[in-house]
Symmetry: C2
Subunit: 201 residues, 2 copies
């Protein structure tokens, strides 16, 4: 169509989950809509850029210059830390309502295969934070794959204090709610077998 249009489509297509058709559709929507539609959208982005930042403690989203709503909540248990890969995981766990401790958001996982090391994820303040909070329990809520595994190992082996014991667990793996053995993939089934527990009538 024209160069600025193609640039806009490319910028939209770079967003997660958007293909070429969706990006074009959104670009046209923004450009041919009411006069101020594009301006309003741009303004929302500017406000967000100005007012939202990462929580300096845990890496969650927070008001710029402030701790996030979880870290700032005095009723949370500061001695329990749940390590997650990304914000969406934190949101999902919060929605499930089964965690009353704090979080640490890595914004990624270590990947030996893709050369993503500790410096590529949010671990800079991790040891310091564990000390400062007096953490006694760490739950790794990381994915059931090699990268999740590598990340747990790295943290457990190099970033925990040597002078005291911290209970370290990984969330359970197995059949999801409503899951059917017939249709479960082999990784899930292997995990589920390993995670088998005594059954009491």
């Amino acid at each position: 169509m024209s160069e600025p249009f193609d640039d806009l489509v490319a910028a939209l297509k770079a967003l997660p989950g958007l293909g070429k058709r969706s990006a074009e559709r959104i670009a046209v929507h923004l450009l041919v809509g009411e006069r101020d539609r594009l301006a309003n959208f741009t303004r929302s982005l500017e406000v967000a850029a100005r007012e939202i930042d990462r929580c300096p403690d845990c890496g969650n989203l927070a008001r710029t210059g402030q701790r996030c709503s979880v870290c700032a909540d005095a009723s949370r248990n500061e001695q329990s830390l749940c390590v997650v890969e990304k914000i969406q995981d934190l949101v999902a766990i919060e929605e499930a309502g089964s965690w009353k401790g704090l979080y640490h958001v890595l914004h990624g996982k270590l990947s030996p295969l893709q050369n993503r090391g500790p410096e590529d994820v949010n671990l800079e303040n991790f040891s310091e934070r564990v000390e400062k909070l007096g953490v006694t329990e760490i739950v790794f809520a990381l994915s059931n794959d090699i990268e999740g595994e590598a990340t747990c190992h790295y943290i457990a082996e190099t970033l925990l204090p040597s002078n005291r014991e911290i209970r370290t667990t990984r969330i359970g793996f197995g059949l999801p709610s409503g899951g059917d053995v017939t249709y479960a993939d082999s990784v899930t089934l292997r995990s589920a077998m390993e995670a088998r527990r005594d059954f009491r009538k």
Copy 2:
């Protein structure tokens, strides 16, 4: 999460084809990515807002202050006008490569049921344009529904010159390419029956 975050998600969710989950995912992607990701995205929007406008002649997208690439192309047949509902339709017809005339983009259809009248679509300069170009043929490439029908009727009955004849057609309706009679809906089949043509061996 926080008010500016919710505002950003709401702005994204207002884009066509994005639900709550996709909007959240994009918001997080923009906010926790490399420092300048959000700023770059905002800049693409600003450039687009500044440099792209509607073509003053046909309503297609164009460089601000210029006619669109179709209207500016001297090799196109100015006396044939194809009326489309939206930019994407123009793009689809251009990609099919079967039209050498100009376009007129309505940015909507008349809808008696939803109270969308002629003043809600791009028809202000239509009669004037038809005169100025000396149009001899108009093809309505509008959808096969009541709104498409109403729009064709309105234009044909009120916006065409009374002092000369203009050939007015509507694109064919029927089975799409590869279409199967068994699975075609009744509107398509009715249209296809009405549009039946002599078959020669």
